[in-house]
């Protein structure tokens, strides 16, 4: 291998590593706030990518049907909750729920059916995609997790896997078995010290850095970001000072949903996405997150970058064993983690 090949593989690895890093951040965010290992993040990412790809191809994505369905279920839950609390005197909460869960999905549905056959600028397509996909994340929290927020991490994990199962099945119904890809956001190519560098790679790098900066500012400079950090440190303490479990859970899911939707839209021009491809991509982000012990953001991002590089280089040396190598990496990583935390008591199960 000469340096040129190495450079080429590095660019490739850093680009996919950047996507994995965003997924890892989303996973850490959700886990630290809710104790949920959100396996279905991969499906949301794919929904984002495929929705954008279909819009670009002038086809109506079935995404909004799912949004309508999830919204209806959420509304039903809110209505039952309101009825149980005898809140019939005030119709306000129910009205807001109706706007959020019924009217908004319907609007999105009409908007997307209007936009699909038209050739809109890519930025507009992306905005529409985000508006259609991101709200699904808090809806999934509302339906699947909020009723059992106090359950053990093990139960939450099994629910997360069940949601992954259901979303994969829905993905097949919504998008069919074939893969889709989209036009690059920035269709340019450069030469960097003799290496080809695509505009899309630069877009991925810059967006990743910007998103990370935004997250950093959010967690350090805003009240709601600090509230989320408080929940991550001590759930009960946060609740006592008025930060609710349910609202922080929904917020964490929304943020994670936004991050992975961006991931999907960034990666769909690079590789074609299929309905079931998100899981494996998300898992590579998970390996990065495990390197960060599921709680540390910088380590998780660095770990995910490492996974991307390892994947790129192993595809050169042993292309057919690429996935085997990447997923076996989890063992030494876990060994390192377990040695690093050997003398600490783990009482996560206690919550």
């Amino acid at each position: 291998m000469d340096w040129q090949v190495a450079g080429f593989l590095s660019i490739d690895g850093i680009t996919s590593g950047a996507i994995y890093a965003l997924l890892a951040l989303a996973l850490v965010l959700v886990f630290s706030v809710t104790r949920i290992i959100l396996v279905p993040l991969g499906e949301l990412m794919v929904f984002g990518g495929l929705t954008l790809a279909l819009l670009e191809h002038g086809r109506m994505p079935a995404t909004t049907w799912l949004l309508l369905g999830l919204g209806a279920l959420c509304f039903l839950q809110e209505a039952i909750a309101a009825w149980r609390h005898g809140a019939a005197r005030s119709a306000r909460p129910l009205l807001i729920a109706g706007l959020k869960f019924l009217l908004f999905p319907l609007l999105m549905h009409l908007l997307l059916s209007w936009a699909a056959p038209r050739e809109l600028p890519v930025a507009l397509d992306m905005a529409l995609t985000a508006l259609a996909v991101v709200p699904m994340a808090p809806m999934i929290y509302r339906i699947g997790f909020q009723p059992v927020a106090g359950a053990s991490p093990l139960v939450l994990l099994i629910i997360a896997v069940a949601v992954h199962f259901a979303l994969t099945g829905l993905g097949l119904v919504m998008f069919g078995p074939e893969g889709w890809s989209a036009k690059p956001i920035w269709d340019a190519s450069f030469e960097l010290a003799g290496l080809p560098l695509s505009g899309q790679s630069i877009v991925v790098w810059v967006s990743t850095l910007l998103l990370m900066l935004a997250l950093y500012l959010y967690f350090n400079r805003t009240l709601s970001g600090k509230a989320l950090r408080a929940v991550a440190v001590n759930r009960l303490g946060a609740r006592l000072i008025g930060v609710g479990t349910a609202q922080s859970g929904r917020l964490a899911f929304t943020l994670a949903g936004a991050i992975v939707t961006v991931c999907g839209m960034l990666s769909v021009p690079i590789t074609a996405l299929t309905y079931d491809g998100g899981f494996v991509i998300a898992l590579k982000g998970f390996i990065g997150a495990i390197i960060g012990g599921l709680v540390g953001y910088p380590l998780a991002a660095a770990g995910a970058l490492l996974v991307g590089l390892l994947e790129a280089f192993s595809s050169f040396w042993a292309s057919s064993h690429k996935e085997v190598i990447v997923f076996t990496l989890v063992l030494p990583v876990l060994l390192w983690r377990s040695l690093a935390t050997r003398h600490q008591h783990h009482d996560d199960e206690e919550e």
Partner: protein, 596 residues
């Protein structure tokens, strides 16, 4: 009552046994074969997830190892399937030991994540290895032969599969009703209780993980010789997830739930794949959506699965029987009254800049009841935790009967004769009082402390069980809970639960009993009963160290008091002396007076 259950069990075994002789269509026999294979894997997950509190999404990978090992040896090298089984088991156990070693000392979800990655890695490996036939897999696997009879026929395989399923169910039931089984059931307990009873929790987690993987491997071996061809697609991660779903549907905490879950799941899948798409004219299969949604609903509304719903129609299982006579367990030598027992020297604990315990010294002699008291935040519990090995001291030492305790784990400390109770009661609420107490005798069995698993499975442990249960019953009687022996621990009142914890601690055959706020939350009468019990234990020669808030309780009970405030010892002496001590009056009693 017990008879009805026994008859039902016999009827079930008879139906299972007679089925292949009846003119049942081959399609149903084949379906039952797959149900049996899935039951084996689901049973392993019941042990791992429902009983042990861990989970694995990678069981399909162990099934794959079992299937591919025998497929490879019997096709490429024409070796006996039995060698294939051995190879499969060897690879499975090796893999489990490696995965377990890197994950089991950390919290539960790491094992689950590791098994997801492991399942994917192995799935891709099956598809990329030339000797395993890439994505096409291996075919032409010979049929099994047993005692000269060929098992090429589906009905013949049915007999072997269901024989093994029933054997596995009975093995699992035997294991759970045994000393190591109770320790495994205690893995889900909190706050290091199991370790404080002498259970090596990491090792026992490994044991259940091995058992679950071995059952999966066995299922794969049978699958290869039933199907006569293997390919990677049967061992993907989705199958691993489906096995877990089966266990959850059936009832993840119940041995029979495995068979129920495997049956319901397999039939439902058959319907969703076969009939439903034709019925609704669907172009794509919707089984994943249905199972995913069903699982979410089940985990939200009926987390214990279907078995408990079904179980209601049968009479309750008879309680564990306590033998009237059994040889007494060996006891350790007890020190003579007045001999120095516990000596705490300059014990110190710092949390960052905060000194929680500041060079505390005190002594306890055999036959004494000593109280460690002080206002909130005085450092009593930290001192207690350092003596019991839950926290490590920054400096200083604790000696017990002349031996240094500092640096020993909770498990090593109980072995030396220190029994303890917990500030927040740590019982296994669904187990009977008797079984909870028997857990205390974990180190006093006939087998190695963490061993005896195989003997329990084979039911060779009856003598051990008789002795342990007899001892547990004796200790329950000693604390006055004889009548509650067969009740679920979770159904007892708090006062009874605290007494139960003392009985469990007594079952460890302690020289010294450490009680962490035993009177907290008790009513007046319950406190009186507790004090009565402690006095009678003292009369029998027991030494006791009590950490306590309740002044009345300790004043009337203890021989000596050690008073702490802000991490320091401020006084020591008889209750009378301490009550007159001006420092104590100001620090402790004064504060109490003002508060009230």
């Amino acid at each position: 009552m017990a008879n009805v259950n026994r008859k039902l069990l016999l009827a079930f075994v008879a139906v299972v046994g007679l089925l292949p002789l009846l003119p049942v269509p081959d399609f149903w026999i084949s379906l039952l074969n797959y149900i049996g294979l899935a039951s084996l894997v689901a049973l392993g997950l019941v042990l791992l997830t429902g009983v042990g509190g861990l989970t694995s999404f990678g069981q399909a990978a162990f099934v794959g190892i079992g299937a591919y090992s025998t497929a490879y040896l019997s096709t490429a090298h024409a070796l006996s399937p039995w060698l294939g089984l051995l190879l499969g088991l060897a690879i499975t156990v090796t893999a489990v030991l490696i995965i377990g070693a890197v994950t089991l000392s950390m919290s539960g979800h790491y094992l689950a994540l590791a098994t997801i990655a492991w399942a994917l890695a192995l799935y891709y490996l099956f598809g990329t290895l030339g000797i395993l036939g890439y994505h096409d897999g291996l075919s032409g696997i010979p049929a099994l032969e047993l005692l000269g009879v060929s098992l090429a026929d589906g009905r013949a395989m049915y007999c072997l599969i269901w024989l093994l399923v029933l054997l596995a169910v009975f093995a699992a039931r035997n294991l759970l009703d045994s000393r190591p089984g109770r320790a495994i059931r205690a893995l889900k307990g909190r706050g290091g209780m199991a370790e404080a009873m002498g259970v090596n929790t990491v090792w026992l987690k490994m044991v259940v993980f091995v058992l679950a993987a071995v059952l999966a491997c066995l299922s794969g071996w049978l699958y290869a010789h039933l199907q006569r061809t293997v390919s990677p697609s049967s061992f993907g991660l989705n199958y691993g997830i489906e096995y877990l779903f089966m266990a959850v549907i059936g009832g993840v905490g119940h041995v029979w739930g495995a068979i129920l879950g495997a049956t319901v799941f397999t039939l439902a899948k058959e319907f969703l794949r076969g009939q439903l798409p034709a019925l609704l004219r669907l172009e794509v299969s919707i089984e994943m959506i249905v199972f995913g949604v069903l699982m979410v609903l089940l985990l939200q509304y009926a987390r214990n699965g279907l078995w408990p719903l079904l179980r209601r129609f049968f009479p309750a299982a008879p309680p564990v029987r306590v033998p009237a006579e059994a040889p007494a367990l060996p006891k350790r030598d007890k020190p003579a009254a007045g001999e120095p027992l516990l000596s705490v020297r300059a014990l110190r604990k710092e949390f960052g800049g905060l000194t929680a315990v500041d060079n505390v010294d005190f002594e306890l002699r055999a036959g004494e009841i000593v109280g460690l008291i002080g206002p909130n935040g005085a450092g009593k519990s930290t001192t207690f935790n350092m003596i019991t090995g839950v926290q490590t001291a920054t400096s200083g030492s604790v000696h017990f009967r002349g031996e240094q305790l500092t640096g020993l784990s909770a498990r090593q400390i109980v072995r030396r004769g220190i029994g303890r109770t917990f500030q927040h009661v740590q019982l296994l609420p669904e187990m009977s009082a008797l079984e909870n107490v028997a857990l205390g005798a974990h180190l006093r069995g006939d087998y190695r402390p963490q061993g005896g698993v195989l003997a329990s499975i084979l039911r060779l442990n009856r003598a051990e069980e008789a002795k342990l249960l007899r001892e547990a019953a004796r200790q329950l009687e000693r604390v006055g809970l004889k009548d509650c022996m067969h009740q679920e621990a979770g159904s007892l009142a708090l006062g009874q639960q605290r007494l139960l914890e003392i009985a469990r601690a007594l079952c460890t055959d302690p020289t010294l009993l450490l009680l962490d706020e035993p009177a907290a939350g008790l009513r007046y009468r319950e406190k009186q009963a507790l004090a009565e019990l402690l006095r009678s234990l003292k009369a029998e020669g027991m030494s006791v160290l009590i950490v306590e808030h309740d002044m009345d309780f300790v004043m009337n009970l203890t021989d000596r008091l050690v008073v702490m405030e802000f991490g320091r010892k401020i006084a020591e002496g008889s209750p009378d002396e301490v009550q007159r001590n001006p420092a104590v009056l100001e620090a402790y009693l004064g504060a109490v007076e003002e508060a009230s």
